[in-house]
Symmetry: C2
Amino acid sequence: MNLPPIPPIDSAAQAAARARQDTLTKPPGSLGRLEELSIQLAGITGQPRPSLARKAVVVMAADHGVAAEGVSAYPSEVTPQMVLNFLRGGAAINVLARQAGARVVIVDMGVAADIPVGASRDLPLQIRKVARGTQNMAHGPAMTRAQAESAINEGIDVAHSEIAKGLDLIATGDMGIGNTTPSAAIAAAITGQPAARVTGRGTGVDDAGLARKVAIIERALAVNTPDPKDALDVLSKVGGFEIAGLAGVIIGAAGKRAPVVIDGFISGAAALIAVGLAPEVKPYLIAAHQSVEIGHRVMLEHLGLRPLLDFDLRLGEGTGAALAFHLVEAAARLLDEMATFAEAGVSEKG
Amino acid sequence: MNLPPIPPIDSAAQAAARARQDTLTKPPGSLGRLEELSIQLAGITGQPRPSLARKAVVVMAADHGVAAEGVSAYPSEVTPQMVLNFLRGGAAINVLARQAGARVVIVDMGVAADIPVGASRDLPLQIRKVARGTQNMAHGPAMTRAQAESAINEGIDVAHSEIAKGLDLIATGDMGIGNTTPSAAIAAAITGQPAARVTGRGTGVDDAGLARKVAIIERALAVNTPDPKDALDVLSKVGGFEIAGLAGVIIGAAGKRAPVVIDGFISGAAALIAVGLAPEVKPYLIAAHQSVEIGHRVMLEHLGLRPLLDFDLRLGEGTGAALAFHLVEAAARLLDEMATFAEAGVSEKG
């Protein structure tokens, strides 16, 4: 498919940031990962002292045909119910985004139900429904290749329009009952790990539910035989509309030099797809956290990303990413706002 | 010595917070450490839904006689220079506290020089100098027992007066060239580990400097024979004035039901002393981060604390703690602000 170009990292801005770090009033390297992150942010944005004041979390929602197999602890009706909760500001992602000073962009990429209109709500809903849920991947492809392309293009458009409104830092978030199942299937297909090594309990299935989930993923992979070298094939056969949309958000943001904070397991699946489609997005990614889902570690290793937080989170919605915004912004603010040895009249290392 | 009483954790508030977590619109437990933290905060404050809007980092500075042994990569003149940098708002802790919406309380507990007055500054300095630096612990006690008690009492007073001004969350920070040496000595004395296992490179000594530092700590322990069962003995023989003051801050804050975010290695030494003097402070502590200093892990294990962040920090000043404020406040805000299943009309687990 036709994707927007991704510029390379700006090595001059990166070098300027690295040089400035060594003039700031602290022992060189003593701010650890915050220094590394500041240099990455300079390279991404092309700014030697980037400002990350304007932030947004894009939360994409969709339903999954495979939920009919009983792979989730919750019924599919929870997907639209939680979207309404997002719109009213009552979900965890709303709380964390408010605290971070970030806006929440809520997108219906393929919820099976219509989100009721007229209900009281604080936030707008973008309706970019590709279909009313995917097909059941245990029996055939989750979506057509054309649907996958369409969903990715919607995601790119979401990123571009948010950046046009003014945006320095973007995060990915998800909602979709059953969506740890396609995410695990994507992880297995792309990394080559067996399903059992990348499949976890999602929102909380029991041992029998976990065994059923692994078996369903194995069946979906056997029925569909996704080609690991063709990310669009993997996405269309065992993916989901919110995963496709988030892959588009990642590609769209990287194309405009915006750093992308990746949330947990579902966002990780979207990142695998995005990197499969456009490997040049990789240096634009920041992994927010290490999820409880066992397959998440496999994903992050495959992507070569070290997560910022390890908080035993397994909620999704972009919650880990919103929590990590503060850390990412701290890196940029330290680089920009700290006094140098010369400015402060502090003696350097003897 | 005479310490203010520390109230027990409020188990009713803790139970109320735990019960509320299970009604919020998320799979139970899916917010991981944020849920645990919210329950701890409820128990500390006695509030089922605590608010942590008012925050402060107490940064205590002092000099160390043992610096004469060449244990630091920087000269002692950097201690007052960095205090001036704090007062002018140019240090890392100023940047991170501004971002966190926290005030910075700067206290001279025993800087060897007088901080120049009349220079332009944004913040006030509290002068609570116990002496102009400690004695060289390689030859005898760093301070008298009376000085140690006095420094602790000053720290308690700092905590109480900040709380009287309005404060929900307090953090500890330090500045003092040479202060990883007494901190490592305290860790060795209290945990019983050999000096080599708890001594790191501080601001960045080379291999020869590290070997010298270990030998000096071994000599200080041999010369002074601190009694591990008597925290005041350990503190006076191999401690420092900022470490003593921070131990007082911890005790003073816990006595008033304020959660205390502990920064890195020097704050960890202060926490070892505080817990030695008053074991009931332990549940009031939140470990901000895992420092690069190798002895920090030993300290946290001894204290039974799991750090929130692992960012390869080794700056001190309270930087890790200020960075962690956002995470601690997130826990409280989620508990307070999220909608319940009933409020949001979301179906519970099937």
